[in-house]
């Protein structure tokens, strides 16, 4: 062992500069993968999981000409059926034992006079079972009478992305929002927003409507961070009043906390099968659907990381070949002193093991620190920290294979000495 230690010392003193690219590449690989993994874990822990858990146990009832699907467009991912309104009373037989959260979501060409790129208007009827919003400032003043609402200064809740919240929205700020009118088709076939013509449904008339001056009473965070949109939340009856929706809504959320997610799915399928024109879907499925782009991105990021690893591994092999080529004459000299090829390979492997370990730790320091600062704990990342140390056996195997090929043999030794 003393011989191997001496050989390693000799190699490191002589070749430490040659190892700089090896060290940098190892650190970069670990850093890129761990930083990506930690970012992903932070997104899951602080954005996706809270919103999924807040909607867990909820079934959304929707009216649609066909099975609900999601469509992706310039405005992000939106539910295709959202404008098909129904009377609140229509779903009562489904929800006898439950509080129902009715929602009117107006997806259209909304206008807003603050610097929002996109705007979604929604009316919400609060119940004891309404999923809690992540309110970061103020309080949602839920006033159902228009006159009282008007007297209170027309309070609304604003749900925005973190970047939006940081851009200066404050409680008490006033702005104007354009509310389109809900119009009955009167039996005329329509193709607005639908893939096929439908008749007898309500639609959003963006040409007609009114500007409503409102005041921010609560600011909540949109955990999905899916785009730079802003959601303006009205008390349901107020929005129904302004938009001519009367008693109609396009969503009814039924909380069934006592059911597991599997039972909830069965229940949703059962409701969908039992009521013509109504479809039930788990609220969590909508969240999953809305974060589909992020999930896809995660998959692409995984492929990209594999490519990074592969390229990194090729570069490492090239560096090792160069290092060993550079040491060829030293190795012949050592062999002339009676040092075995095995001892030389062992010294290379130990060198690589030590360097790999140090570089992995160096590469992990920043993402781990970031994880601690942001969450106060080491996040359970999709790629666990321990898996990075698999780079060590990989590098050792590569170094052994490269050494086996590169170390001079009896046939080559004379040529090596002559070529010096």
């Amino acid at each position: 062992m003393r011989l191997v230690i001496t050989l390693i010392k000799s190699s490191l003193v002589t070749d430490h500069k040659l190892f700089i690219p090896f060290v940098i590449i190892n650190i970069l690989i670990v850093f890129v993968i761990s930083a990506t993994s930690v970012s992903n874990a932070l997104f899951i822990e602080f954005s996706r999981e809270p919103i999924i858990s807040s909607t867990a146990g909820e079934i959304l009832l929707l009216k649609s000409e066909s099975k609900p699907v999601f469509i992706s467009g310039l405005d992000g991912t939106i539910p295709k059926w959202s404008f098909q309104l129904f009377e609140t009373g229509e779903v009562c037989n489904v929800s006898v034992d439950h509080n129902i959260t009715y929602q009117l979501v107006l997806v259209g060409q909304h206008k807003i006079d603050i610097s929002a790129k996109h705007c979604l208007v929604t009316g919400l009827r609060l119940t004891t079972r309404t999923p809690a919003q992540d309110i970061v400032k103020g309080e949602f003043q839920y006033i159902t009478d228009f006159k009282e609402w008007d007297k209170a200064g027309r309070p609304v809740m604003v749900i925005a992305t973190k970047s939006y919240l940081n851009s200066g929205l404050n409680i008490g700020d006033r702005f104007n929002v354009f509310i389109p009118k809900i119009v009955e088709s009167g039996g005329e076939p329509l193709a607005i927003g639908l893939s096929h013509k439908a008749s007898g449904i309500d639609y959003i008339d963006n040409e007609n409507g009114e500007w409503v001056n409102v005041k921010i009473s609560a600011i909540a965070r949109d955990h999905l961070e899916k785009n730079d949109a802003i959601v303006v939340v009205f008390p349901l009856s107020i929005l129904q009043d302004i938009s001519n929706a009367d008693n109609k809504v396009n969503r009814a959320g039924v909380r069934m906390r006592e059911l597991s997610e599997e039972e909830l799915l069965e229940k949703a399928i059962s409701i969908s099968d039992s009521y013509a024109g109504f479809y039930a879907i788990r609220a969590t499925d909508i969240i999953t659907g809305m974060s589909k782009e992020i999930t896809d991105l995660e998959k692409h990021a995984g492929s990209l990381l594999l490519v990074v690893c592969f390229i990194g591994s090729l570069v490492l092999i090239c560096i090792l070949v160069l290092v060993l080529q550079n040491r060829n004459s030293s190795y012949v000299q050592l062999m002339s002193l009676g040092v075995t090829r095995f001892k030389l390979m062992l010294s290379v492997a130990i060198e690589i093991m030590a360097i790999s370990f140090i570089t992995i730790v160096a590469g992990l320091i920043f993402p781990i620190t970031l994880s601690y600062i942001r969450s106060g704990q080491l996040l359970s990342t999709s790629i666990s920290i321990i898996s990075f140390f698999l780079i060590i056996p990989y590098n050792i195997v590569v170094s052994l294979i490269v050494s086996l090929v590169m170390l001079p043999n009896r046939k080559k030794s004379l040529e090596v000495l002559r070529s010096e």
């Binding site: 001496t6 010392k9 000799s10 002589t14 002339s336 009676g338 004379l414 000495l417």
Partner: protein, 231 residues
Amino acid sequence: MNSIVLKISNCYKSFCKSSNTVEVLKGVELTIKQGETVMLLGPSGSGKSTVLHVVAGLTPIDKGTIEVCGVNISECTEKQMLRIRRENIGFIFQDFRLLKGLTALENVMVPLFTVGKKYIEAESRSKNLLKMLELDHRMYHYPKHLSGGELQRLGIARALANSPQIILADEPTGNLDQKLAHGITKMLVSLPNKTDTSILMVTHNQQLTQYASRCVELVDGCLKARESCIY
């Protein structure tokens, strides 16, 4: 009567480069007895270094036999050869070929580690050798801080570390001036216990032949004895 340390019989070695085959050794015969100092002369490219490499087992021969301390190395496995190299052969190179990342002391200790010597034992033996070769003040210096003469003395110390039966010296004074060349060669041939160690030394320097027991010349792939070694 002195025993035979090295016996080369009818040794052939050729090198193939693309379609050309160059025959370097064509039936080399050489016997060296214990304590003898044999100088190997010959023009450049005649194959002098090849003789040393085949004796050290660093290059296999095509035909013939080479016996080092009674063992036919052409029939040895790599493992047996390594053992012979560690215990019986010391190698000195023209360009010193010391490990740049190790101190003078550590360079001498490396061959001792190959035979399993413990650190303290290896350190003590190495220090004695360095003292003997007047390098004790340079013990902890790296090769880059040593002069040419000091480097070659360090190379000699390393070759002597395991008290080899034979030292193979490949133009050890080739990079040194005349005065140093004489000093180093004189030191090499007059080492304590020299009666136990044989030397096969390749040189171009005719003046150094005065220190040899006998001289041989490699001409056209064959070794011929030189009648007089004195220049």
